[in-house]
Amino acid sequence: MATEHSRFEFDPGFLDNRLRVAWYAVLGVLLLIGGYATWLRLTQGMQSTNLTSTTPWGAWVAFYIYFVGLSAGAFLVSTLANVFGIERLHRIDRDALFAAIISMVVALLFVWTDLGRMDRMFYPFVWRQLTSPLAWEVHAYVAYILVLITELYFSMRYDLARVAEHGSGLRARLSGLLTLGRRTTTEASRATDRTWLKRAGILGIPLAIFLVHGGTGVLFAVSKARPYWNSGLFPVIFIVSAVLSGTALVMLLYVLRTRLFDGESVDRDLLERLSMLLAVFIIVDVALTAIEALIAVASLHPHELETWSIILFGEMSWSFWWFMVGFGWVFPLVMVSKRSWRRTPWLMVVAGLSVVIGIVAVRFNIVVPPQILPVMEGLPHGSYFPSAVEWATSAGMIAVGLLLYTIGAELLPLTPLDRGDH
C-alpha cells in the first residue's frame, strides 16, 4: 500500500461518495429554488419584496452585513496563525481565508440583489461621494478581497506547486495554474511566501477591522435620523459579533472537513482553544450589547425607548429572545462551559452552528427595528417580514456560497499537506 509517492497522494473532498451526491443534491435543489426566485425578483422588480418606503432595508441588507461580518471574523481567526504565529492554528489558516473570500462573494451578491437598479452596480466605481460611508465601503470590499486572495495564494502556493509536480489529473493542472508560474518547492521560496503572507496579513487586519467591518457599522451609525444606530459603540459591537460568528464558522468547518474530507481525528487541543475563543467573544458581545442598551434606555429618548421595546416585546421579539439570546449566546455558552464538552467534536459543531444562526438574528435585529417606528410622528408605521421571494433568493445565494466552498475544498489543498506542523 505504501508506494513511493504516497506522501504526495492528494485527494481532498468527500470520503463517502454517497454523502457527496446527497450534499450536491441538496445544493442543487436550493439553487433551483433560488434561481426561480431570482427570476421573479428580476422580472417583478422590487415589488417582489415586502419592503416599503417606511422600511426600505430588509432581509437582503441583513444577510449582506451578516456575510461581511462572517468574512471579517474568519479572516481575523486566520491572522491568529499567520501573523501572530499561534502554531496549532496553522492547520485552519487556509480554510479560514477561503471561507472569508466566499463570504465576501455572497455578501456582494446580496447587496447587488438589493439594488433598485441592478444594472447600475458598477456606478459606485464611476461616481463617488467622499462623505458617504457606502462609497468608501465598496472600495474597501474590493481591496479586502484582493488582500484575502493574495494571502491565500502565499499560504497555499508551496502545496499547490507540490501537487502540480507530483499529482495528476484535474487537480494537478488546476494547482499548476494557480501557482501563477512560481513552481519551486525549495525552503527559500517557502520562506518568501511566509514573509509576504505576513505582510499581506498585517495590511489586512486594519482593513478588515476598521474599514470593512467597522466601516459597515459606521454605515449605520452615521444615520442620525435613526437614534438606535447613531452611537459610537455600534461599529465596535459590529466587529465583535463579526469575530464571534467568524470563529464559530471556522470551528464548524474545521471539524466537518477534518471528519468528512480528511478522515482524520479532530485535534482536541485545537478544538478547545477555538471554543475558549468563542466563549470570550460571546461574553464581550453580550457585555457591549448590554452597555449599548443601557445607554439607549437611560437617554430616555422616545425613539430609543420605543425601538428597544419593539426589539424586546414587539411582534418580532421571538427573534431576539430565541435566536439572538438563545442560539447566539446562551446555548453555545452552556455548550462550552465544561471541558469535556469543549473537547467533543460533534457538540462543538452544534455550538458553532447555533452561533452562526444566532448572529443572523443579530443582523436582522440591527437592520429592521429602527425602521418600524416612523421618523416623525404622523407618518405611517412600518411592518416587515421578508417575502417568499426574499427568503428563496437568500437561500439560493447562500447555496451559491456553499457550492463554491465545497468545490474549492474538493480541489484545493486547503489542509496543509504536512498537516500544519511547520
Binding site: G116, R117, S132
Partner: protein, 348 residues
Amino acid sequence: MSRSGENGHAPGVPDVGRPAFDEMVDDERTDPREELAKTDHDTDLGLAMAEDAKRVSRGELSAEEYWERYDELAEREFGDAYRETPNPSIESPDQTIDAETAGSLGCSVGSMDSVACDLQDRDAADAAGESSGDATDGDERWGMVIDLQKCVGCDSCTVACKAENRTPPGVSYNVVMEEEHGEFPNVTRTNVPRPCMQCENPPCVQVCPVSATYKMDNGVVNIDYDRCIGCRYCMIACPYGARYFDFGENYDDEVEEAGEITSPEYGVDRGTREDGESPIGNVRKCSFCTHRLERGEEPACVETCVGDARNMGDLDDPDSEVSEMADSSRAFQLKESEGTDPNVYYLE
C-alpha cells in the same frame, strides 16, 4: 323607438324655437355704435371695417380686397399705432393674404410670431444682463413657508402634488401629518404638511454613494434618476421621511393609460412610464416642482392651497414675503436640532 318627442326635439327640453335664441343673443349684444363712440377714433370707419370683416368670413369679400380697401384709411386713423402693430394675416404660419398685398401694407412690423419671439429674446437678455429684482432671475434660494394657523388639513396639496408629479402608488411627495392631542372635550388637532425640506445641510446628499442626489444652486435637492442605483441609503438618512422608493407600481387599474403622461421632474421629460426604466427602481421625492418654478409658476401645492397657507419665494431676497415670514417670531423648522437647516419654514 325614437327617443325624440313629437316635435323632433329631445324630451324634457322646452321647444322655444331657433329664432327665440337668436333674439336672446341680439338682446345681450352691445350696440356697436354705442361701444365705438366711447373711443377717440372714427366710429364709422370702425363699423365699416367690422361689417366688411364679417363679409370676408362669409366668403363674400377676399382678404386681399379688404386690406387694399382699409390699409390707407387705417394708417391715417391710427398712425404709428397701426404701423407698429403686427397684422395677423401676414407671415404667420397660416398667412391669409397673398404676398403682393402683404408687401404693400402700411404696417411694416413683421408677423405676430416674430414680434412674440423678439419680446422673449429681450426678456432673456434682460435676465442675463443684470440681476434685476425680478421674480425669476435665476439666483434664488427657493424656500417655502407654511402657515399652520391657515392649514385646514384638507389634503388638497397632497392631491395636487400627485396630479402634478404623476407619482405612482406608494409615492407621495407631500403628505399632511395629522396629530391629535388631549382628551375630549379638550382636544386639539394640528395638521403639518410635509414636503421635502430641501435642507441646506441635507443628510441624504451626504450618504449617496454615487452623488446621484445633490444640492442645486437654487436650494433644491435634486435626484439624478439616470445615476441613482436604488440603494435607498438616502431614505435611511432622511430625518423627515420625505423620500420614497418607486417600486414600479401603477394606477392602471384605476385610470386607463395612467402611465402615458409623466411629469418633467427637474426639467427632464422622460416620456411614458415603462417597466425597468427610471424612475422605477429609484428613490423619489418632492422637487419644489422645479419644472414649474423654471417657467415662473408656483409649485402645485402652493397654487392649490385653499387657505393660502403655503407660500413660495426667494429666501435670499430679504424683502420677499417668504423671507419676512421666515424671520417672524412664529417661524420654526422641523427637527431644528438635527442641524439640517430646512428651507421649509412653518408658522405656529
